[in-house]
Symmetry: C2
Subunit: 496 residues, 2 copies
C-alpha cells in the first residue's frame, strides 16, 4: 500500500478527477465545484483529466458527461462527490469498481444529523476498497498551485440589488496551509487571508472525519515544500497518540499554530452539538500542545497574526525584545503585552544605551529621546532616526527580536523608513515585526509596505507584541529540541 | 469664579481664539493650527473671532496678524500657543494682561525633557491670573461640531512620490469622546475611528497636565449632551479621590472605557520615562475602576470595540447571552470568550427550545439545526431563518443580549438579513452585536451595514463576545447603583 504522503497527495494533485453530481444548475454545489476545475483547467493551472458525472446530462460546460463513474474509460484517481447523502453508497461502490484512490465527500446529511448508519456504510465500502475518504460533510480541498478547488461557494455573490461582489475569494499562492474541522470557519479564513493579501498553499476541511484525519494531513504537510506554516483549527482531536507523534515531527520542521475551541463548559456543549465530538478537558489540550511544540493561540485574530509572523520571520533566539517607537503610549502597550506573555522588555545594556547617548550627542536622534527600552524617538522622529536606532538594535546580541512602532502621523517621518528598515533587516536573522495605528490611506499603506517586505505589520501594539510572543515561543521550542540552527538555516535558504 | 464646566467649555467652544505662533510656513505647527481654524471659519463651522499672533508677519491667510496678544483690540477667550518653550512665559504674561480665560500650550520642551523650572514658571503665571491651562506638550482639543481643531498634524501628507494621501483624518461628528494622556495615541485613535466611520464629539490630549486634568474633563463631558461614551487613555491618574468622585458621577450617566497602560514592570518603566508619571501598582487601578464603574479593557482593540458597542447599544439587563449563528465553529469561539469573561451562554429554556423545535416541524429552520444555545442555523441558513430565530430570542426574557454570527459565505443567505434583523431589533432594548468574518467586499459590506443600523459588527467572534462583555458589565454596574432603568430610558430617547 502506498504511503500516507502518496495517498494524501492525490487529494491535492490528482492526475484525474471526476465530479459526481456535476450540474449545469448554477445554484448546485456540483456546478460550482465542476466549474472551479474547468476554469482552472482552461487557464492551464489544473493539468489533470476532468470528468463530470451526472446521468441527466449529455454535456456540462463543454465536457462530455458520464452517467456513472464506471462508464468513464480512462483512469480516475480522485472523485469529488456532491449528490444527496442517500446516493453516496452507490457512488462509493462505483468508485471501488473503478479502482479510485481517493474520494472527497462534500455532501452533508450523515453523522452530523444522526445518520450514523449511512455514514458507517460509506466507511465500510471505502475501507474494503482501500479508498481514502475525506469528509463527508466537508468543504474538501483547495490548492492554490495545482488548481484543485472543491469549494462549492462561488467566488462572487449577487446582491438583491443585482450587484455582483466578491464573497468567497480564493487566496493567492503563499506559505500558509489551513487545516480545519469547521468548513464555515475555513472559508472565512480564506476570505480573511485573501483580503489581507496573505497567500495560502493548501486548504483542507475535514467535516465528519470518517477516515482521513488531521494527523495524516499534518504528515502530508510536513513533506510539502511550499507549506511553511500550518494553521490548525480544531474542536476535538482524536487519536491523541498519533497526533502527538506526527505533531512532534512536524514542529521541528515548520510551526503549527492551533486554534482549539470548546474551552469552556458552554463552548464544549456547543462543540458537542456541532460535530458530535467530545472536546475533552481543555487543560489536556494545553499540555499536549505544549509538549509537542504546537503553538496554541487564544483567539481568531491571534491565529492569523501568529501565522503571518511565523510565515515571514525567523523564530527568536531568546526571550529579549527591543521596542523602537515614535510614540510613547503605544510602546507601553506593547511592553505590557510582551511582559505579561513571558517576553522580556529588559533594560538595554549599558553599552547599547551608551551608543544611543552618542547618537544624541551627534544630533542624530532627539536629545530628549528615552532609551532604556523602549527606544522612544518621539514625534520628532525621521526616517534617519529609525535607521540609526535599528542599526544598533540589530547588532545588539542581547536583543533577540524587535518591535518597530512607526506611527505615520509624525510630521517629519517620511514613508521611506519602511523600505530602509527592510533594507537593513535583510542582513540579519533577527525577527522584526511592525505596528502602525489607523485605518485610513497612510496607515494601510505603511502596513502593506512592511508586509510586502516580509516584515509582518499589525494594527495594534498588542497584536504586534503577540506576534513576537509566537516567534519567541517557537524559538524556545526549537532550541529545546536542538533544531533551532537547522530551522534558521533552512529559513534563510527559503528566503533567498 | 466660573464653574469647571464653564471653564472647560471655553476650550471647546470659544467666542474668540488667538493662535500665538501662527505662521505662513507650511511645516510649522502654528501654520497647521491656524489654518485649521481659518478653514473651519470659512466653512461656517467655527463661529468665533480668530486672530493670528506673530511679530514677523503682517497677514496670514488673509487675516491681519498681531505682533502680540496685547495688541489685539477685541476680547480673547482662548489662546493656543505654538512657539518655542522659552518664549511661552512671556506669552502667558501677555495672556494674563489680556484677561484670557483659557490657554492650550501645544509647545513641547518642558517637564518631559527635564525643564521643570520653566514649566513651573508657566504654571505660576497661569495660577496668579486665573488662567486654566491645557498642556504643555499636548495636542490640545478637537471638537467635531464647533470647528475647534488644535491638531498640528495636517490631514494629508505628501509621499516621497509626490502623491498626497490622508494621514491624520478628523472623524465626523458622533457620540464618542476621547480623553488621552498620549497625544500620539490620541491621533492614532482618531485615524482608527475615522477609518471605521465612527463619529467623535470631542478629543482632548493633556500632555504634561500642569493644570487641567482628566477629572475636570470628565466633569465637563458628564454635562456634554452629545457625548454618549468616553474613551479614556491613561498611563497614570493623579488626584485619585477627585477622579473617583467624578468618575462615580459620570458612570451612572454615561460609560467610561479606560485603557490604562503601564501594567507590567517594563510597562511601568516605559510609562515613567514617557510622561514622568509614577504609574503605581496596576491592581490598585483595577480596584478603583471597578469601584466607580469604569470599564477597563485589556488592549487597544477592545478599547475601540467596547466604545462602539456602548455608543450604539443599550446595556444588558443580565448576564445571559444568546448566540444565533450560521457557522458552528465561530459560535463556539464566541461562547468560549463570553464564558471565560463571566457572560453566560446558558442552555435555552425548555419553552424556547420548544419554539425552535416547532420551527423545525414547520420547515422554517433546518431540521438538523442545533438549538440549545448557540442556535446554529448551519450553512443552509436563509434571511427568513435568521428572522424566525431572532423573533424568539428577542422575546425570551431569560436572554439579555444577542450575538448574531452571520457569515456571508452561506450560499442561500441574502444580505437583506441585516436590514431585517435591524428592523426587528428596533422594537426592543435588548443589546445585539454582530460578526461576519472576512476582509473582502461582501464581509466589509455586511459589517458596515450592521454598523449603519446601530448594531455594532466585529470581524471576529471573540471581538463580538468582548463587546457583549462590555454591555453586560456596564449593565451590572448600572443595576448595582440603581441607575439602569433611567439610563435605558434616556438611551431610548436619544435614539429616536
Amino acid at each position: 500500500m502506498s504511503s500516507v504522503f502518496e495517498q494524501m497527495h492525490k487529494f491535492f494533485n490528482p492526475s484525474s478527477v471526476a465530479v459526481v453530481g456535476a450540474s449545469k444548475k448554477i445554484m448546485k454545489a456540483g456546478h460550482v465545484i465542476f466549474k472551479n476545475f474547468a476554469d482552472s483547467k482552461r487557464r492551464g493551472v489544473f493539468q489533470g483529466e476532468l470528468y463530470p458525472v451526472n446521468p441527466g446530462e449529455e454535456q456540462i460546460l463543454g465536457y462530455k458527461c458520464y452517467p456513472s463513474l464506471t462508464e468513464i474509460t480512462g483512469e480516475v484517481e480522485l472523485v469529488v462527490i456532491s449528490v444527496p447523502a442517500r446516493f453516496v453508497p452507490k457512488v462509493m461502490e462505483d468508485a471501488a469498481e473503478k479502482k479510485v484512490k481517493v474520494v472527497a465527500i462534500i455532501s452533508g446529511g450523515f453523522g452530523e444529523i444522526g445518520k450514523h448508519e449511512l455514514e458507517e456504510r460509506v466507511r465500510t465500502i471505502a475501507e474494503r476498497a482501500g479508498i481514502r475518504v475525506l469528509g463527508p460533510n466537508c468543504l474538501g480541498v483547495y490548492d492554490s498551485s495545482t488548481g484543485v478547488d472543491m469549494l462549492f461557494l462561488p467566488e462572487t455573490k449577487v446582491l438583491t440589488t443585482g450587484d455582483e461582489v466578491v464573497a468567497t475569494p480564493r487566496p493567492m499562492p503563499g506559505p500558509i496551509a489551513i487545516v480545519t474541522q469547521s468548513g464555515a470557519f475555513g472559508v472565512a479564513a480564506l476570505d480573511y487571508l485573501a483580503g489581507r493579501q496573505l497567500g495560502v498553499t493548501k486548504f483542507v476541511s475535514f467535516g465528519n472525519k470518517i477516515d482521513v484525519n488531521e494527523s495524516e494531513m499534518l504528515e502530508y504537510l510536513l513533506h510539502d515544500e511550499q507549506t511553511r506554516v500550518i494553521l490548525l483549527y480544531a474542536e476535538s482531536i482524536e487519536a491523541g497518540r498519533e497526533f502527538m507523534d506526527v505533531a512532534r515531527r512536524v514542529t521541528v520542521e515548520k510551526p503549527i499554530v492551533a486554534l482549539k475551541s470548546g474551552k469552556t463548559e458552554a463552548g464544549i456543549r456547543a462543540a458537542l452539538s456541532h460535530t458530535g465530538a467530545i472536546a475533552g478537558t481543555d487543560r489536556i489540550y494545553d499540555a499536549v500542545f505544549k509538549q509537542v511544540g504546537v503553538l496554541r493561540v487564544k483567539d481568531m485574530e491571534e491565529f492569523f497574526d501568529a501565522g503571518k509572523a511565523l510565515a515571514f520571520q525567523p523564530p527568536a533566539a531568546g526571550r529579549n525584545v527591543a521596542i523602537i517607537t515614535s510614540a510613547g503610549g503605544p510602546a507601553i502597550m506593547a511592553a505590557d503585552e510582551c511582559e505579561s506573555r513571558g517576553v522580556r522588555v529588559k533594560r538595554f545594556s549599558d553599552e547599547t544605551i551608551g551608543k544611543f547617548e552618542a547618537l544624541k550627542e551627534a544630533g542624530k536622534i532627539p536629545s530628549f529621546a528615552t532609551n532604556l527600552n523602549p527606544l522612544d524617538l518621539t514625534g520628532s522622529v525621521t526616517s534617519d532616526m529609525f535607521v540609526e536606532g535599528m542599526k544598533i538594535l540589530l547588532e545588539d546580541r542581547e536583543v533577540h527580536s524587535i518591535i518597530v512602532i512607526g506611527l505615520h502621523h509624525a510630521p517629519a517621518l517620511q514613508e521611506d523608513f519602511v523600505d530602509r528598515i527592510a533594507g537593513l533587516a535583510k542582513n540579519y536573522t533577527k525577527p522584526i515585526v511592525a505596528c502602525d495605528i489607523g485605518e485610513t490611506e497612510m496607515a494601510l499603506y505603511i502596513r502593506f509596505r512592511f508586509d510586502k517586505h516580509g516584515i509582518p505589520a499589525y494594527f495594534s501594539p498588542e497584536d504586534a507584541a503577540r506576534a513576537v510572543v509566537a516567534l519567541v515561543n517557537y524559538g524556545q521550542y526549537l532550541k529545546k529540541t536542538g533544531s533551532f540552527e537547522r530551522y534558521v538555516e533552512k529559513f534563510k535558504k527559503n528566503k533567498t
